[in-house]
């Protein structure tokens, strides 16, 4: 069995994020980067599936600049077996990310693609569904529980109406939600082991894809920072204050 986990390298969104002067991006030269937290959950789930008995090879994929190696190394230390870094300096829209992943999936032939339901930087939530469509594979989005059976996957999906349990045949694309698991820290031995694990370097050109940008960022606006604070002395006053501001 082979599990492919696509990841995105994103700025740590807990940091103070400021907009670039041209309003089309953020100042990221001093920001720490992490694996998109939802993708880390996907990787953790792949590792747990392996730990509970399925003999899986876990492959993580990143698309970006050479700096990405640091986050891929993190993923290898958590427990992935190998990594692929597709070198690409351009910022990609979800459609083109899905197309690149499609090429890698066809090359690697995984039984399962496990990935975050969205990236925390742009919240697009599109790559998983796009990829499933391009591959003509079934998909199970917003997974909060994943169980393997003989040739299928049973998934609990978190919907606004409650939990929906579905079964999809393999191969399939599964996108992971927050409550699926809590990603681990790497152990000492696995950090050492990860230093020797391979990271395959691929140039975008080698994949023979012509990028077809379909989305252009026109502008970004920071959320309003102004807050009006008022101190209340009791729960009763708090209730009154809330009633006042509620529409």
């Amino acid at each position: 069995m082979k599990i492919l986990v696509p990841t995105k390298r994103v700025p740590d969104t807990d940091q103070r994020i400021t907009l670039r002067e041209d309003g089309r991006g953020i100042n990221d030269d001093q920001l720490p980067f992490v694996i998109n937290p939802f993708d880390a959950i996907a990787l953790e789930e792949a590792i747990r599936l392996r730990e509970t008995g399925c003999d899986a090879e876990i492959l993580i994929v990143g698309i970006g600049s050479a700096d990405y190696e640091e986050q891929l190394r993190s993923g290898l230390a958590m427990g992935a077996d190998r990594a692929i870094l597709v070198h690409c300096e351009e910022s990609l829209d979800p459609w083109n990310v899905a197309r690149i992943l499609q090429v890698l999936v066809l090359r690697e032939g995984p039984d399962l693609v496990l990935m975050g339901k969205q990236a925390v930087d742009d919240d697009a939530s599109q790559v998983g569904p796009f990829l499933a469509a391009l591959l003509d594979w079934p998909q199970a989005t917003f997974a909060s529980k994943v169980e393997l059976s003989e040739d299928a996957v049973r998934v609990d999906r978190e919907t606004d109406q409650g939990i929906e349990t579905i079964e999809v045949t393999r191969p399939a694309v599964i996108t992971t939600d927050l409550r699926l698991n809590e990603p681990r820290y790497a152990s000492l031995p696995s950090i050492l082991k990860a230093r020797k694990k391979p990271i395959e370097q691929l140039q975008l050109e080698a994949l023979e894809i012509t990028l077809e940008p379909r989305i252009k960022i026109i502008g970004l606006e920071a959320p309003s920072q102004s807050r009006t604070c008022r101190r209340v002395d009791s729960v009763e006053q708090l209730v009154e204050a809330l009633v006042e501001v509620l529409p």
């Binding site: 940091q15 958590m78 820290y185 790497a186 152990s187």
Partner: protein, 420 residues
């Protein structure tokens, strides 16, 4: 002299500065605290707050015991619950560490400090979630516990505000103002402030603040990590479960909100160069990578004493920066080269628990020029202009060595100084 804005200016709104401000205000001084970020947002906000009163010397033990009295006063005045008296345990799994405990019990008894040996069975009873089968000895101090850092900050500020202390946050200090060979104030981002005395309580930044006055403060910024496990129905950790020091494994622990805090004094901690961090660096936003070697080391060592902890255990990891000195002791007081400029820094991982008494000592020094406390261990100028304590890199090496040996070396009168 220029127009005074206060009697005393304090640089740094962590526990050291806040406690000093409060004690000065209690003596009728007008005090302004200037803080680069938010109050308590530096090392203070990243601390575990363990309080073990019995130290290597009578002077530091007395300081900590008096501190508990001050904390009781703070609690009464402000209604905050700061001190959680859980009791504390030291455990030993090697003969050298056992001797350390024997010495400690002897020392404690000699000064009437409440301390007793515990058998393995008694330890097991107190801490059912801890591995005990390898223990050779243990001692228990029922009057120890921990101080809750957030509540401590809140009470310093609450009481301080009542007494007229002004707190200027988001206001970094840019220069120390000097007139006639004396510190007379500070230039802040929002303008100059003048006073009779300036206190440098800048924590990890304090050596940079000293440099603003062309002084060398021999401290260095050293990384520290601890983990907090999430509450787990399978492992009950009582709120009043004793804190533990297991120096052999380099770890300490204490209960926290149904989970367990385990922290570590590593042999090779991270070193930070404060001047290289972003100008708006916020310690509260520090985050360890999933493959951080210090976290991995911490989890490994925690597991030696608490076998149910491993890398899969749901936990939060807290990363912070401590201010170490070359001998692990604080710096309290002025240097001979610049009257009116006081240092209050270098707490080497013990700022929270030392702060209540340090505030009193600093208020003594600033307002009277002297104190009843035995200052010999914490005098600010004990390395002043001494060879080996002048260049930044040699200072950093000494502090790093001190931090690395902090739990490594064996303490006590019979110790040979070698780690076990």
């Amino acid at each position: 002299m220029s127009q005074k804005t206060a009697d005393v200016l304090i640089i740094g709104g962590g526990v050291a500065g806040l406690s000093t401000a409060l004690q000065l205000a209690r003596r009728g001084k007008r005090v302004i605290v200037v803080e680069r970020g938010q109050l308590g947002s530096g090392s203070t906000g990243r601390a575990a707050g363990l309080l073990g009163q019995l130290r290597g010397t009578a002077a530091s033990t007395r300081m900590l015991m008096d501190g508990v009295e001050t904390v009781r006063e703070l609690e009464k005045e402000t209604g905050e619950e700061i001190f959680v008296q859980t009791g504390s345990l030291r455990v030993a799994a090697t003969p050298a560490r056992t001797q350390e405990i024997v010495d400690l019990v002897g020392m404690g008894k000699a000064i009437n400090f409440d301390i007793q040996h515990l058998s393995r069975e008694e330890v097991n009873e107190k801490l059912p979630y801890m591995k005990t089968d390898d223990l050779l000895d243990a001692c228990y101090c029922p009057t120890d516990g921990h101080l809750q850092p957030a509540e401590l900050v809140a009470s310093y500020v609450k009481w301080g505000r009542k007494l007229g202390v002004q707190y200027q946050t988001q206001n970094p200090v840019e220069r120390i103002l000097i007139e006639g060979g004396r510190a007379v104030g500070v230039q802040t981002a929002s303008g100059p402030l003048y006073a009779d005395a300036v206190v440098n309580a800048g924590g990890p930044w304090s050596y940079l603040i000293a440099e603003m006055a062309e002084s060398v403060l021999p401290t260095a910024a050293i990384g520290h990590v601890y983990l907090t496990t999430r509450p787990d129905d399978a492992i009950t950790i009582d709120r009043l479960s004793p804190g533990v020091r297991d120096r052999g494994n380099r770890i300490y622990s204490r209960p926290e909100a149904g989970g367990l805090i385990v922290g570590m004094y590593e042999a090779e901690p991270e070193q930070y160069t404060m001047e290289n961090l972003p100008a708006d660096f916020d310690m509260a936003l520090m985050k360890a990578a999933r493959d951080d070697i210090h976290v991995a080391m911490l989890i490994y060592c925690a597991q030696q004493r608490f076998p149910w902890i491993d890398e899969r255990t749901p936990m939060t990891v807290t990363t912070g920066i401590m201010t170490f000195s070359p001998d692990g002791k604080a710096f309290c007081g002025a240097f001979p080269n610049l009257p009116g400029f006081f240092h209050c820094s270098g707490f080497s991982g013990h700022g929270i628990v030392q702060s209540p008494t340090i505030g009193v000592i600093m208020a003594d020094l600033v307002s009277e020029g002297k104190t009843d406390y035995d200052l010999s261990e914490i005098e600010a100028d004990r390395f002043f202009e001494q060879p080996g304590y002048l260049a930044r890199d040699e200072i950093r090496n000494r502090c790093f060595e001190m931090a690395g040996n902090y739990y490594g070396r064996v303490e006590g009168k019979t110790a040979s100084g070698k780690a076990s």
